[in-house]
Amino acid sequence: MKSFQGRVVTPGEITAQALVSHGGLNTLASFQKALQFGDKKATCGDQNNADLYGKQMAGKALCLPRTIGSTTGGLVLYCACSMKRQPACMLFSEPIDSLAAAGAVLADVWLEDVSMPVIDSLGEEFLDYVKDEMTIVIKENGMVEISD
């Protein structure tokens, strides 16, 4: 087991399987089909993201450096949360970007019964170490524990 300490963006404790994107997550390109066509698994539709394309994002511990692309990103994340198709948590190796931050804060402030803990600033080593399907446990204080 290996642990990484990050910063809490939105708090929560959860255990989930890792899904890793080494490049930036294009939120609109990744989620748009899932939201439009009722895909509860939120299958990633971003053709430019070889790590995630075609994989289920809902319920996974999504590990990524940052999000990129359209400024609809935050509201797309907000909708994914509201429709219960969000990742179990989002774990950023870098400081969070403005679009992902918007989605996380909007969901936390405006949605009553939805939780998507978000931790950022976990460092490059975190993204180098974590692999798909590893088990991830996150704590309220921003500690992320990873085991095979």
């Binding site: 294009n26 692309g69 509201l75 969070i96 403005s98 679009l99 405006w110």
Partner: protein, 428 residues
Amino acid sequence: MKYKMKLDAQQEAILKGEKGDVMAKVMETMVRYGELFGADSMVPITSRYNHLVTSFGLKALGPVYDLMEKLIDAGCLSQQKFTADPRPLDKKVPSSFIQNIVFQHFMYSKQEYYENQLQQLGLLEKDAFTCTCYMDEVGNTPRQGEVLSWSESSAVVYANSVLGARCNRNSGIIDLMGAVVGYVPYFGLLTDEGRKADWVVEIKTTKKPEAQLLGSAIGMKVMEDVPYIVGLDKWLGTLDDDAKTYLKDFGAATASNGAVGLYHVEGITPEAVSQGRALVREDAKVYVVDDAELKRIYDGYPVIWKNKDARPKLCFMGCPHMSLNQLVSWTEKVEQSLKEAGNAKVVIPTVFTAAPAVLRKFKETDYAGRLEKTGIIVSDICPLMYMNNPLSTSMPVITSSNKLRTYTSARYYTDDEILQQITKGGNV
């Protein structure tokens, strides 16, 4: 919840609920959002108008419309009039019987409802739908130094870079909430320090680089950082209408292929002109773009058509929306190329998109009739919204927009390649 940010008495009162619970939540959202980026204060928005990214009544975005309704019901309307991104539908754009049913009765069934919400919230006028709101014909053109609460990545990067306004890459909803409460958190691209360049990009190509390709290369390299670009002034000359059009397309590609919110072009963009290399951080990295690098980028684009050799069924130009001088120059180029090929009309259904106000101006010129004779359709649609469904995804669509390529199955070609395909046919 306790906040580190120093709020003035009025902001504090709003946060405590003096203007109602919903307005307090709007302020809470903006404060929490800002604190994540180290903002220690909220500053007033100083632009005349706002711009919103969300213009489409997509059924799947129900939670957004519910949130808008909460704002309207509570009287929390935008303090500024605003423009919004383009509408998703236009009967003039070719679509099949099935596409029409899917578009109107399934995907965009909330369009009328949502436009009504936008009008209640403060839409500038009923046709204020374009991603290029900063065009003179549209009139939402902020001045240097003004503080904005805009979203739409291509508009934000243009406003920051070409106009010298100050705006972060705000998300949809945050854009509106800033204008509702009247303040935005002070961080990032609003600050002098946040506008300094992390990269020096040296352009060493043997010809003027394709705007959309160069923007893609730089976006993918620098991601959300600020690039200071040297050697491009040699190709652009001065910041005239042609250069502004080039930078519009270039910037959209940097913002969609990466997450660039501001770039400086030496000798061209306002802050680069006034401050020069004082804008570059001491530890800036260097990225050299030459012909080989652009070819590497171009060759790396995936083609996700089922049949990679399919004959294109549709061509979209204008993501972001075309400028007036772009419509004029393309009219001339298409006419000339058709003449060379001995064709009267384009051989692939082709749509040029532009802002309603730009199209109105274009129609006052004789170019509009000339373009119509070539068979090209003009529209104020959002090509991206047209493409966002499985029916369109299965269509072989071509474009010279790197933003459209990034978000959809559309296949990218350079402007010259597009011209050849639509006027002469055949794969390039």
